[in-house]
Amino acid sequence: MKDNVFFKGLMAEATICSYCGYCRSVCPTYEGVGWESCSPRGRLHLIRMLLEGTTLTADQMKRLYQCTLCGHCTQVCSTRIDLRQFWLEARKQTVLRKLSPPEFSTTLDNITKTGNIYNYQNDERAGWVEYMDDPPDDLYQRDRAEVVYFVGCLSSFSPRTQRIAESFVHVLNAAGVDFTILGEGEVCCGYPLLAAGMHDEAQKVIEQNLERVRATGATTIVFNCPACRVMWLEEYARHLPGVRMLHSTEMLANLTADQKLPMKEVNRIVTYHDPCDLGRNGGVYNAPREALAAIPGLQFVEVHERRERALCCGGGGDLEMIDTALCGHVAAQTVKKLAATGAQTIVTACPQCVRMLTRGKEQTAPDVSVKDILELVAEIMDRPLKKSQDEAVQKCPDARHPKF
């Protein structure tokens, strides 16, 4: 989480930057691109040039967005600049100057028209529930509940990650948690808009979600998507005093500690990938590890690049909209390190990490499986989650191809 870092404005911090290059050493996209302009210090100076009136070409502008907002640069910055905040503010400025890349307009259109990044009808948002075993009549959409499970766009619509939502609901049911999902009342949390610099547009979805959550009377909101959680903590929390905002792993750690989730023994070697928005940017490192430690028989191996030093999956910061090949490169590099631990399964706690690492493993470690921790737990519970993702996807074929 942010520790003794500062942000006093773009020009102020661009002047404070010492050009030491610490940020370059840890930047996953600089590693992939290789040119100084794609290093954080290079990017920062491009922004400074822009603010000073230099005209940048479209290719040069693209450098500003070849960034996953992973926050690793903030972690090492020698002058303690909150660089993640710097990148977000810079993107906001490019929108104000009408310089943001055209790719982002698709996202804006999707979210504005449909309430989700995929451009599906938002009333399909809870479609995955219907494919679970014995869903209740209310499809988990209740007027009032102690806990709101905010599913997020990826787990609602992406076929690879809908299974995570099913798994979490299975876990919540098994533990007897009084929860609700918001169904079509949930819209995108706004993080992709904020990452694109579109603050005004983000504000609109924030208001919609706030209204819906308030109506439930919930005292806790839980997220399986770390980016949603960070967004809620940073942009919503001040409007919801007294409401706890937890990541699913935090709830999972509590439930396993209270022995509310009886699990079968599992004979598997597992490593854990810290998602950037859960760990570095969200401050949660221990909960997923505590949950994994509670799984009987599981052999856990830590990757060297973990916790504050965790590698990025490549999927953050809207990079997938700008440079999908670079995303793939970053994902492959990260999987290579994770697979080198000898793990049979890479466990993580983020639907976007699951998507990206699944993509990355195809090139580097096809024999390794990638799972969200919720999927793993739901599989090995005394009463496991039954349906496979493929069956669900077959029933929902139009969800197979995300539209961004």
């Binding site: 003794n4 500062f6 102020a12 002047t15 404070i16 010492s18 050009y19 030491c20 290059g21 610490y22 370059r24 050493s25 290789g34 040119w35 100084e36 302009s37 290079g42 100076h45 491009l46 040039m49 230099t54 940048l56 290719d59 040069q60 090492v76 020698s78 002058t79 303690r80 060297h304």
Partner: protein, 486 residues
């Protein structure tokens, strides 16, 4: 210029993009265009990013054939334009030649590609049960090849010497043999020592082999607060000769602590307010690493240290921040500095003189240092300024000469040469030393294509007749413009 003749290098490894070239035309310290543009061509004609040693050799072959200046560059984490071109030409971005770490556990040596950072090298060694013997205080970005090319003194040098002492061999691409790759040892012709601290002016390092140490079984860190800089200096000098030898000794005066405080960070002791008169306080960090018995014995030596020992948590915090001294820049927003080698016996005089200068002129100047040998310390004196105010900033740049002059009075000399410190060549080298360096340069780089404009000769603006009065005048201006108003 024949970029197309670089047959081994694909087009995506070469760029002539304007903005990209601009980003490669600076290093750590911002220098106003008025000091640069009329005299130097810092904008490279192209940047080439070789992916392996053979591609480096190809570039050097082509550059030699066509007399194209070549400036090797990796992190560019120095501040004297050491890796910034001053005659255009090609910048060789070496950053893709990294990792390739091969440890010889029997000989306790490691082979590594030159653009590997010291942090990454040490991290990889630690995983294999070894450690780097020493590393720079900018280890997170500073590269192995870069530090060999510079002076190579830093954290751990007190115990294990500089990187030059640890070298086993280098692989170098040299213009003398049209880029051919040669392995350079202590007995080769030319020998290894020629390539240490010569800032890429003789060839391009493409691989480094150096000695390493077993991962220390134990370490301990001890932080002391002093009310008197003289006593602090005496303790530094005696601990630097102590056996067992500390891994490193770090010290800082009240000016440095005040800069850190102004930058928004906690400091380990309370300073009097207001900032003037300048407090005589300072801190000393002593770190031991090695076998448990060595560390225990070292700790016992500290019983005679005169300062007040602070908590072990504070000591560990200070140790953990050893690579983050640039945090002080937040007190700027710009920061200028004079970095010098200083005889340890003169540390007290130097610190006192800086304190007196700061007090007389009401300037905030902070000094810290790492002891790198029983009789030598590196000292960095920093002062805040603002590069957005050109006149004020130019005056501040001139003030570095005042600090260098002050250090010279006590036997100090600048650390590193690059472009800007050629102004101090007579302090850096004796006539015979400089003549020998020039002979080597002429022998190995007869066309003078390697990093031209650095190390051997001051350009016109930095001649004593031009630089001396100019810098002195600007420095005097800083004394009036740079006054601390708090």
């Amino acid at each position: 210029m024949s970029l197309k003749k670089l047959t081994t290098i694909s087009a995506d490894r070469v760029t002539e993009d304007d903005i990209e070239r601009k980003l490669y035309s600076r290093d750590l310290a911002f220098v106003p265009p008025i000091m640069v543009k009329p005299f130097f061509q810092t904008l490279p004609d192209a940047i080439i990013r070789p992916g392996n040693a053979e591609q480096v050799a190809d570039v050097l072959r082509q550059a030699t054939n066509e007399n194209i200046p070549v400036t090797p560059r990796a992190a560019a984490s120095t501040s004297y334009y050491n890796s910034v071109p001053v005659h255009g030409g090609w910048v060789l971005d070496m950053n893709d030649l990294r990792d390739g770490i091969e440890v010889d556990t029997v000989q306790q040596t490691v082979r590594v590609l030159p653009a590997t950072t010291w942090f990454d090298l040490d991290d990889a060694l630690q995983q294999k049960g070894f450690a780097a013997k020493s590393y720079p205080s900018s280890a997170i970005s500073a590269t192995v090849g870069g530090w060999v090319s510079m002076q190579g003194q830093g954290i751990g040098s007190l115990r294990y010497g500089g990187v030059g002492d640890q070298l086993v061999n280098l692989q170098v691409s040299m213009p003398l043999v049209r880029g051919e790759l040669r392995t350079i040892t202590r007995r080769s012709d030319p020998p290894l020592d020629w390539f240490v601290a010569t800032e890429g002016t003789l060839g391009v390092i493409t691989r480094v082999e150096l000695s390493i140490r077993p991962r220390p079984a134990a370490e301990s860190h001890h932080l002391f607060a002093f009310d008197d800089l003289n006593i602090l200096s005496q303790n530094v000098a005696s601990l630097a000769c102590a056996e067992p030898r500390p891994f490193t000794i770090f010290f800082a005066d009240s000016g440095y602590l005040r800069l850190m405080e102004r930058a928004g960070f906690d400091i380990p002791l309370e300073l009097p307010q207001p900032a003037f008169p300048v407090s005589n306080k300072g801190v000393l960090l002593v770190s031991f690493q090695g076998e448990s018995s060595e560390v225990t014995n070292g700790r016992e030596k500290l019983l005679h240290t005169a300062g007040k020992e602070l908590s072990s948590d504070l000591a560990l915090d200070e140790w953990n921040q050893r690579l983050h001294h640039l945090r002080t820049k937040r007190a700027g927003p710009s920061l200028l500095a004079a970095e010098v080698w200083l005889p340890l016996k003169e540390l007290s005089h130097y610190l006192t003189s800086v304190k007196n200068l700061a007090e007389r002129s009401r300037l905030l100047i902070g000094t810290y240092g790492f002891v790198v040998a029983p009789d030598t310390t590196l000292v960095m004196s920093l002062y805040p300024t603002d590069e957005r105010r050109t006149v004020k900033y130019l005056a501040a740049i001139g003030f570095t000469k005042r600090l260098h002059d002050l250090a010279a009075r006590y036997g100090g000399r600048p650390y590193g040469v690059g472009l800007w410190n050629t102004a101090y060549l007579p302090r850096l080298f004796s006539r015979s030393q400089l003549a020998e360096l020039k002979r080597r340069k002429a022998l190995l780089d007869p066309s003078g294509i390697m990093n031209p404009g650095k190390v051997y000769q001051a350009p016109f603006p930095l001649w004593p007749i031009t630089f001396g009065p100019g810098a002195t005048m600007l420095g005097a201006l800083h004394l009036s413009l740079g006054k601390d108003r708090s």
